[in-house]
Symmetry: D2
Subunit: 482 residues, 4 copies
């Protein structure tokens, strides 16, 4: 437990998706194809880059690149994978740019025990210290990811231990958030850090193939039946002997699942720790309605992220839910943004108000966050131009006041509007008639409700509360390494 | 007026979008860029192909190809257009395939009076007869589109008349549906057929640029203020003298706006003939609720087309609206469909149920149509697997029984499930507990409500009723011309 | 016969390649694939655009686009062609630019007798007049090519005659140069204009497939044995009854084969009118050696076009041939040219001198033409920097003084260096120690030698002599039609 | 010194190109652009992959991928590089395949002293041993290249020494062939192994930018003046203090420049160790003429590699040189090879005989090597079909009998035709009337002639003689690591 120290922002947060599968029989298992569909279902967790590694007959084939799953992989690329019995895949969040290709995952490395492929979701808080130690010891790095550091630490332990033991011994050295899928030529190992910051679950298909994924929606996509979430600190090994678990690190830390998975990251159809993401968002909307009631004629959500909470707000308040903002679904990577002079209209191209829902109405508009406030201000203006009499903004999460060090892109306090401005100032900036955030208290109630469903859970709410479950990074790497 | 004769299906229906703009001053008007954003807003009307033509200093530059607006045009392509004062653009509906490139629009032709570019939305019913006459007279054709026939007919008249008169004289020879934007080197001419089958409206930007579009949402996208719909049969001319109208063909036919524009084609934020598309869909849902009430726990829509009617059903019935099906938004052109053996799961990749909305619930599921029934059956099965106790399907349009000859892809009766099967058979095919379509009567009520808002309107409901406002095609071209 | 009038340059010259094939049996004949390899062998005749049309079961499928054969067609594209028994293809010369796509060939048109695809090499001299007449009669045009005019003229005749008769009746109306391959659903018709400006030959494969091509190298490429050149004015028809010829237009005009085909256009391994292109170039070099002897140490050719004549010069003069300029063969479409400031070095990137061939040597450098002189001047400078003591430039053709109206890109006199400058001025511009062109007299000797081999031939040398075999265009279309 | 042991083939040979530049001032030096043109000139040394790294303000940006320089880099990609004062680039030889991307260079690694980028041409003979040692010490590898091993070895030394000293200390541990360009944030270091197997030279532009390249043709391409080759064993450091040399490893081994650079690899316009590559090939042809004279009418070369030696043969023998085989220059990456059944004609598509050069002639055909004999046999057959009376094959290198371990792709003896068959058998396989290789003795004479020009040189002729200058690899990695 540790409170926030302002200077400590590493600037390299990430939210990613992990997928893996293990079949005891190689023949007829098109591992790469299954990974393709699995990653496709996890695409919302990362659109920057993706990759798939397949182990086949003692060799590992890996392809990864910047872009969406459907951009990086085509039929010809998938056809180049041999049939294999193990696969790990990854989708990566971040800004676009080909320079980032070297940061794509899975990472494939070769060491004295053989080859290993690794997919990672999360962020270490002691990355700088580990990297320095490793470099002093002669290690060299090809990327700027925490994930490569994890590979080095595991490899150091693997010099003297088998891979399972090496993973177990590496864990206490790795501080922070990590959900991992690690593949050797013959085993698949899934790992969740002792706080359980990031979700990781597994299931099984009718044919007996085991599937590991960040979210249950990826199990659904490949026809696997959910078995359970990994426990915080658990190591799960899939090999020719079957599935076995190692729990020596379980219960070493309090459970601190990222509350933002429910509020923002995860897909509504996923079940995490026994709770429906969709339901959590409906509940957030309902809490908002209790907390910030208003006389209004229609409740609308900002697509896509605000829709569920808007439905929840509407149900709890009795105000009808309406389809008030239309999103153009044809926007693609190659869409040309208007030039500077036309920029004001940009939001008009992606998002257009539905006048008949809005005109002469008092509108409650629900979204899941306000980051810099500019997009929000434009939407409010659009609604007024479309004839809204009043616009009441409701945000289905508490204000972000503290950066996240556990694998999300919630940035340094300095760039967070809520850190810089009072509630009234924000209201004026976005031009709304009223503004209400979900209170931290209600966010914790929400977490509590969810937690009640699983035995002894707890949540990380550091980005709202500053109450960090771990030590935070001491210093940050100043030199960008592209 | 004419009832349906079974053999008469041309097989080449289309629904398209038309965009055009006219500026009295050439300098600083980036006509191609405005067309880009305008067509982008009309992309829902056609994803097969698109094109933009710009008139500049007596020459016409046109680029068109198969693909989405954002695929066919990139910055380099747009930069190749000179500044020009007139532009016409087009988005085309249809199946993919490079062979179709020759059917892309605008059509640019050169004749004795100069050059002309033409964009067309609709279908002629006397295309075969006109083509035969023209061919007998020595005309040759480069495509299989009705639109090229229109260009020929106008050109024939233009041999002896100026272009405005030529367009007027061509109109009585063209039977069926056509909304046209025609550009010469110096004029923009917008035309709507005398029945007014397809919508066409115009507006004006603050800078005085006139904009013509199939739907008002495209005016919004380029910052133009809606002025009005063209009248059925109206010819509107934009040139250096300003805007003037010719109405000699107005009121020559009863108004027959396609009711399906409201139910299916148009974007919810568009206003057509003074009525909101979104509101019409809410009303369709409300009529459905009156007509086919059911005891249930939640109303869900099939995304994206069924959402609005589902909200309308929910409001009218008092049953809560829920987010019950999640659509994966990352699907792209290059997405690899599962192989035959995995095909069953395909719908799982694009659409996944949200279990917490569905489980142990009696679900009303609303969509706007049932075509062959297979997709529908899969969705019902998915809902049941996700725990739905009951699934009640509601369709926000009457059953299609008759093909459309006026520019939609409602196909020959033989392939329409409602023509082949009784209601009960369809219910069994899709596996729902109950099934209800919007009645033809209520569709007409809906149309009436909308029609009340504009003076003396009427609607075409031929696809439901078989009551065709024109003679239907006598024979069809047997030889495919690729 | 007509001498040159300065104002008359249409500005739209072209040199193209035509390929076609006919099989009496459809099964197992992959017509598109044969056209692919045939056009590939003709790629030197045109790199701007290309296309292939295949007739199959009464329908014609055509794909064409800007780019090289290997760029426009990939396996997937070829696989979309049905097996068919007739094919016509085309490669087009010109500048790059997607706006030119509408000028790509084959042209496919539909008229009252059915569909027709047409590939054309050459230029009409009465294009403007024909176009005007056709437009007055109601025809509309989709491109700015002469080829579309030809299609219209044939179509006019086809209204009252069968296709063979229509082609024959069209010929006297078409003045100028045309080698044509015309395909209907059931016939292939090859045509050569009465002067025989452009080459066209045919052959037959072991399986009995007839092949028509601009040059014999394309017959070689698809395994066909050369039969003979078409006669000037001949119409050759391939259909289910076999091959038959119509010669009513033969001998109506003196034979005027373009001498530049031998000097420049054709591939060295082609045989035209019984003479080897390669041998003609060796002879040009030998004539040059007689005409402009010089004391020197090495003869080099500018790759690729000057190599053959350089070998001829070397043999005739006894001066050793050397490899003095190296061409970088990896240059591709996407190669980035140096920016303006680096432009001087551009020739260094594509062409580098081989110092050991050059240093301290008196060099004879042979090329086939000097157009604007700038490239030539750079090469001379490069050779001097590499240590050449003297550089003697020899050009294996006479100076261009007159534009060509028969399908090459020899431009208006104003832009031809030899029209603007004296020999001595040109020598100074390019910086050579001496300069010698092939004399018009020797060019005619060369032509005579070739002509001796075939009965009563003659050559067009208008670009050197101004002696045009036909009337030249009276006026030119001022309005660019993109 | 060591003679050949049959089992010892590592299977991972490579021939590559290295380019680097150093400017003492950063402003206005577009380092990436210079590397682009430099690598483009070295493209003949490797077409599999390429990359460019630029150091700017303490950070290194690197982009690399499979493909040609003109494919991997476009304007947008180059524009993303910041201006920087140091660059290293690489072109890589090998088979195509996206799986090879991880083997692309430069390798960029980060270690305790900062970042380092490294380009390597050559092959180590103790790679397996080094890798094993490094792995036992905890190192992990991301690729299967020797180059990554070199980076690790240098890094180990850099833990205790500055980078220059580290490089020097690494050299005695690296056995085999390596020409290296190593970049840190502030220095460029060029290294050549003590035997001098691979060439490496440097020069300087008029603006004072130092340029390092595998061949002098790349200096020409970027406007740099050649200064000299690096000495075998030399370390050359470019930094803010200027250029300085370290020669502690010079003369530690006999000079053993690869003779095949002259015969095959290098570009004819390059000067290596003071000798012209072009001249060496002319000499090889002349030796061949002395050694294997024949009565004949024409000497032709197989393009492009056999042309120079054919000219040399022609000059020495007095038999005229002719252009006998035409290469289609439009073949591209995307060219579709004929299907299996058409494969016999493949050589016809890429290469066509020029009949007028061949018919009724006794032909001497010169090439630089015979690998498997199949291509050669097809060419001989083509020549006969084109009318050649006799075909005499001459090869401008001795037969390969032994694999190369120093960075070329001369494969294991088992697949070399000369190892498997007698001269007479090979003659029969290829169908020639006579066959003559350059004798090992004459290859050594040739080498001697070249060597005479520089003080105390010597050559590696192991692939012909089996006389290896170093120990050869003891064992090979059996597991492919993709």
């Amino acid at each position: 437990m540790n409170s926030y120290r302002p200077a400590a922002d590493s600037g390299l947060h990430e939210a990613c998706g992990v997928f893996a599968a293990y079949s005891s029989q190689q023949q007829d298992f098109n591992a790469a194809s299954m990974a393709y569909y699995g990653l496709y279902a996890l695409q919302h967790r990362g659109q920057e880059a993706c990759g798939i590694a397949v182990a086949s007959a003692g060799a590992i084939r890996c392809h990864k690149d910047s872009g969406l799953v459907s951009e990086v992989f085509n039929s010809r690329e998938l056809a180049q994978y041999p049939p294999g019995n193990i696969t790990v895949g990854h989708v990566r969040y971040g800004t676009t740019g080909s320079s980032e290709r070297s940061n794509a995952q899975p990472i494939v490395v070769r060491h004295t025990r053989g080859a290993m492929a690794l997919s990672h979701n999360g962020n270490l808080v002691n990355a700088s210290e580990l990297r320095q130690q490793l470099e002093m010891n002669g290690s060299i790095f090809h990327s700027s990811t925490d994930s490569e550091i994890i590979a080095h630490v595991i490899n150091q332990e693997a010099l003297h231990h088998d891979i399972e033991e090496a993973v177990s011994r590496a864990m206490p050295r790795l501080h922070g958030a990590y959900a991992l899928a690690i593949m050797t030529e013959s085993k698949l190992i899934a790992v969740r850090d002792a706080h359980g910051f990031r979700p990781l679950c597994y299931g099984r298909t009718a044919e007996g193939i085991y599937v590991v994924a960040s979210e249950s929606c990826a199990l659904d996509a490949v026809g696997a039946t959910f078995i359970r979430d990994l426990l915080p600190g658990e190591i799960l090994i899939f090999d020719s002997k079957g599935v076995h678990t190692r729990r020596e690190h379980c219960n070493s830390q309090p459970h601190r699942l990222c509350v933002f998975e429910f509020i923002y990251f995860a897909r509504p159809d996923s079940i995490i720790e026994g709770s429906s993401v969709h339901e959590a968002r409906l509940r957030a909307g309902a809490f908002l309605a209790q907390q910030h009631p208003v006389e209004a004629d229609v409740v609308i959500g900002v697509p896509d992220s605000g829709i569920d909470a808007a439905i929840g707000y509407a149900r709890a308040s009795g105000i009808p839910f309406g389809n008030g903002l239309l999103k153009n679904k044809y926007i693609g990577r190659t869409f040309i943004s208007p030039t500077q002079s036309d920029r004001e209209d940009k939001v008009r191209i992606k998002l257009n108000p539905v006048p008949s829902t809005i005109r002469n109405k008092r509108v409650v508009m629900v979204d899941d966050s306000i980051v810099r406030g500019t997009t929000c201000a434009r939407i409010v203006r659009l609604l007024r131009e479309a004839g809204a009499k009043e616009v009441h903004m409701r945000v289905s999460a508490p204000p972000f006041l503290y950066p996240c060090f556990y694998g999300t892109d919630i940035d340094s306090s300095e760039s967070l509007i809520a850190y810089q401005h009072t509630l009234e100032e924000i209201r004026q900036i976005i031009g709304a008639d009223s503004l209400g955030y979900l209170s931290l208290e209600n966010a914790q109630h929400l977490a509590q409700e969810i937690a009640d469903k699983h035995a002894d859970g707890g949540f990380c709410t550091a980005c709202f509360s500053g109450d960090y479950p771990t030590a935070t990074p001491l210093e940050t790497s100043k030199i960008r390494f592209e």
